[in-house]
Chain length 256, copies 2
């Protein structure tokens, strides 16, 4: 089983890249963040005949999640608690017995801001979500744009970046507390000390060419599934295309 995550930074602007990637890579499940589109405007037609079913929940301009599955869905839900505002940030689907929770965690703006406080609360509520909904024995994957680079290895310049909303002790702690539900960081399971990024800022012209990136997209799994994970890797190609997202695809493979 192959499961992937991608922050598209607009599914409309990236429809061709996503469709091409699905056809070239045939994942079982692809989770997308930042679709930036209302459900009524989702570019359904761009994916017709691709062999994928799509579940999506979005809003105007910001946020928005989507899941592409080659095997349909046993379950689909959106949101944390029953807060409608959080629906475009969390999808929870079950495909072939595997639960996949796709999150677009609030970025947090600045450490001294209400938005950062909201981000912290979001991690907390997410832990509660996992506690209430899943048991460690369940087949569970948590992935998405988590807006946290968990260690010094996960940013190109840890000294300079320390204190950023995605790279500071508070987020590390918040992330750790969710992870401690029982999640294993799959990329680090396979590559414990390589600098591997998933995001390169548009604003620096040379960020991608000089590999000055961040690993803020992630795939984690319960112990049970982590043991069956055969690889976890980044596909950098889509970041090098014509009108790329600032993120690229992260993929995990499982022997189930």
């Amino acid at each position: 089983m192959k499961i992937a995550t991608f922050n598209a930074n607009s599914i409309r602007a990236r429809a061709d890249i996503v469709r091409g990637w699905l056809e070239a890579n045939s994942p079982d499940v692809l989770c997308v963040q930042e679709t930036k589109v209302q459900d009524s405007e989702f570019p359904v037609s761009a994916f017709e005949g691709s062999g994928y079913e799509i579940a999506y929940r979005g809003q105007k301009s910001y946020n928005g999640v989507a899941v592409f599955s080659r095997h349909g869905f046993e379950n689909v839900s959106f949101g944390l608690d029953s807060e409608p505002a959080d629906e475009p940030r969390l999808s929870d689907v079950k495909v072939k017995g595997v639960n996949v929770v796709n999150t677009y965690i609030p970025q947090g703006y600045m450490v001294e801001s209400d938005k950062f406080e909201y981000k912290m609360q979001w991690f907390k509520r997410l832990r509660t979500y996992f506690d209430n909904k899943y048991k460690p024995a369940d087949k569970l994957i948590w992935l998405g744009d988590l807006n946290v680079a968990p260690t010094d290895l996960d940013v190109h310049d840890p000294k300079r970046l320390l204190g950023h909303v995605c790279f500071c002790p508070e987020v590390w702690d918040a992330f750790e507390k969710v992870k401690s539900w029982g999640f294993v960081d799959l990329l680090r399971k396979h590559y414990p000390d390589e600098r591997i990024y998933t995001f390169w800022d548009y604003r620096s012209k040379t960020a991608f060419t000089n590999d000055r990136g961040w690993r803020i997209d992630n795939i984690l799994a319960c112990e049970k599934l982590a043991k069956k994970c055969t690889d976890c890797y980044v596909d950098r190609e889509p970041r090098a295309m014509q009108r790329p997202s600032d993120h690229t695809f992260l993929i995990a493979e499982f022997d189930l």
Copy 2:
């Protein structure tokens, strides 16, 4: 000698189309309207190595003229009278002894508006410009987006369109008064009764496919040059391309 006119509706958005067209058609002179760009932002690099020199005068967002010449310029000036506001609407160049006056005539908004009054005055001032600057014996060409469809033949639905700011007795009269300086409508010289258009509105999905257009771009010449004009025709291809302008190219050829 081959001279062409094209309302690009943004030279930045149309740089590839214009460059491709120059390379495929090798006009001696191409006059462009609605470049929609300040001089400092003109996409000079898009035309490097094309073999054309460019003279341009623009402003933010609206208007803007440019002239591409394969033979450099003997003279270049912009504007009517010494009104800076009119510079992005009129270029006057001399290439190989031929004076080419390129105008983007104000559209006029609505007949009952100050903008329409401005349009009428513009035609009047343009006639004065020709009177003051040129003699009937001069080699003179007047072309551009003239925002007037001179006769019933020049719009797809003269009945419905009568009263439009580009198709009403007032503009016909204003246009006629400039034309009477001594200009010959070159397309009508060669094709006196064909429906041939240069503009198809974006806003009607089927305007181009159903050829519901307007002939509001024009090339006129003094008697002397008109006699030497061997053909005048529209190239519809660029209007059928991927991200087209709403206008297309009009070309006149001369045996000089």
